[in-house]
Assembly symmetry: C2
Homo-oligomer: 392 residues x 2
């Protein structure tokens, strides 16, 4: 059996070993993303891999229930769950241990999540999530801050051709509610809009049909979409969403005039738990890199452990990046040169080479041909008489 087939037979589907060059690439990218978050005041927290099921899967976490592995804790005799998403854990930390910290509270994280099933788009069942949460701020400035931070961080690690797709998943619901549609009709409309199925929207849209069709066709490059949106007659709630979108876009334009921004006025899929301005990050090369948006942190109250949640929680926004797709868009950094240091080289000589930026690979026994040995060990260089020489 070839090594690759052998290895994949050894591991469960959707789980894999990250091998040398790829592992270094991912680690360097994660490190740089976290450095960018830290530079804007986001402080790192590390929640555990497992928690009590009832905490991890309450509130927004409930969405991941079917994707979550369970474990029995022999200590407490209670069920635990392996996290399938880190976001609810950060909200829990913010609203419990850090509930007395000054707001807005800026937190960031990086860690592994595990899922019961892979999806068609993401067959992996384990991947790295990296992200931020900005908790306790209602302002459009907060919405703009997290979008700009995501763009800044992705640009810093070398993602080319980046674009941001803004949406306000509450707008359609508010339009429908404002025009008196029932829950079942709204659900059908949502499905039709997610399919971008104009005929179905016309068929089930009733009084909202014309407006929703206009929203659907207006979606696209931000300036054109906002112009079209400005001309539409919106019910009051949706009008608030329009103002927030306009305001946030203006803040993005002021900070990063060259940023490619599109607006999707009917998007809902993937944003079921978002309560306001939301966004998806794209790269032309790799597709969707991550997403984010507004939600209510600790909205269910259960996570507070006192059963006295107000059902509203704190205003919050943030984003999550998926390292598996993201890395496909990022060129690996050039690895530093490897120099073979033959057997008998002093520790001090090797240390000096490392201080100059070389990776040293020590010979553990004498060899006849140091250049050949260097080549065998993937070193482009070897040390001879105190000089670094180049193989070949």
């Amino acid at each position: 059996m070839p090594a690759d087939a052998l290895s994949s037979a050894l591991l469960p589907a959707g789980l894999h070993d990250v091998l040398p060059s790829e592992a270094a690439h991912e680690a360097a990218a994660v490190e740089r993303l976290l450095a960018e978050f830290a530079a804007q005041g986001y402080r790192r927290v590390d929640p555990p891999l497992v928690e009590f099921e009832e905490n991890l899967l309450s509130g927004p976490g409930a969405a991941m229930s079917k994707q979550t592995f369970r474990l029995m804790d022999p200590h407490s005799q209670r069920m635990m769950a392996v996290r399938a998403d880190i976001t609810p854990q950060i909200a829990r930390i913010a609203t419990t241990r850090l509930k007395n910290e000054a707001r807005p509270l800026r937190l960031c994280y990086a860690g592994q999540v595990l899922r019961v099933k892979g999806s068609q788009l993401r067959p992996e069942r384990q991947f790295t999530q990296v992200g931020v949460e900005l908790i306790g701020a209602l302002e459009a400035e907060a919405d703009a801050e997290v979008v700009l931070l995501a763009v800044q961080a992705l640009t810093a690690i070398g993602v080319p051709h980046l674009s941001v797709d803004l949406c306000v998943p509450t707008m359609v619901s508010r339009i429908c509610a404002g025009l008196g549609l029932g829950e079942e009709e709204i659900r059908e409309l949502r499905a039709a809009l997610d399919r971008k199925d104009a005929a179905a929207v016309a068929a089930v849209g009733g009084p909202a049909a014309a407006l929703l069709e206009s929203l659907m066709t207006a979606s696209g490059p931000a300036d054109r979409a906002m112009q079209a949106l400005a001309a539409l007659p919106l019910p009051e709630g949706a009008e608030k969403d329009r103002r927030r979108l306009t305001e946030t876009l203006a803040l993005l334009r002021a900070a990063m005039p060259g940023l490619t921004v599109t607006v999707d006025l009917v998007e809902h899929r993937g944003f079921e738990y978002q309560t306001g301005l939301s966004f998806t990050l794209f790269s032309r090369a790799a597709g969707e890199l991550g997403q984010g948006g507004r939600y209510r942190a600790g909205a269910q109250g259960e996570a507070r452990g006192d059963g006295k949640g107000d059902g509203r929680g704190e205003p919050a926004t943030g984003f999550t990046l998926y390292m598996d797709t993201l890395l496909r868009a990022v060129p690996a950094a050039k690895a530093p040169g490897r120099v073979y240091v033959p057997h008998g080289t002093s520790w001090e000589s090797a240390r000096k080479l490392r201080a100059e930026g070389w990776v040293t690979v020590a010979g553990l026994a004498p060899v006849a041909d140091a250049a050949a040995e260097a080549g065998r060990l993937h070193c482009g260089h070897w040390l001879a008489d105190g000089d670094v020489r180049t193989v070949g």
Copy 2:
């Protein structure tokens, strides 16, 4: 309920949230350790959090069976296990996917492990392991390389008062076998030696009693211990262990003359799966920081998946550091200065401050007193009229 009690009630025993300053401290230390490993040619691999139980718990992994959580994989209908130790995974990768890579193979890793129970010394059930494996080298130079690398890396992250305790856990077995003791007697002797119980050693040691007592009392500072050891009459196998210890110590002395080295000639506990020179890393402040030593990678053959393992595997050595204890020994780096940038500050002005090394914390709305707001948000500085001013 105070926030801390509330939080600990929320999480299972032995699991905890790593909060801001501690999480950054750990991340920076892990990053630096891996950079030191990489500088000596160790390439990073990242095995998954879970694997099929039969692979993860075969060979040396079997030792962790009772400490390992199991999960049913609905995809394959087979049992999976959450790793309680990363070392067996690295050995698996080396002997399967990387079996055709040139030897010696140098690999490093950092990751989370999960255990069913905490111990008295380490109540945590989840912690970070960081380490290296050097696979395919028999030489004393390999033993010395991993000890020196551990010392170098720990020194680089600022561990003070570091010492290395060398041992050869095979020596006692070889002495006992050479003097004709049976398996049961050897087990009893091991237990007595682990307790450093001289009376019991004399009682059950039979023909080995005098020699083992000498080994026990000779243990201590390396030079004195080696002098005492040199004078003892050893059976052939144990004589080989003595030569390896002498040779390795000489290599350590040549590279790092100032290193504090002790030798324990009877240590066994914690080294049940070691097959040669082993070591423990200590700091006066924090106790045991990690351990390492020789083993056979892929020794059981099962991990090769073809049932044709030769029962011997490849010679290997390495070490694992436990970040939880280690961080207690390491001073946190000074955090960069935080500067509050009031509402309305341009993105470009904030970017320039970050390029100068500041952490910027953006005001999301106008405030009357920027200095007070800076203080409230844990910023020692604020930006006014383009200048960074100091709070208080």
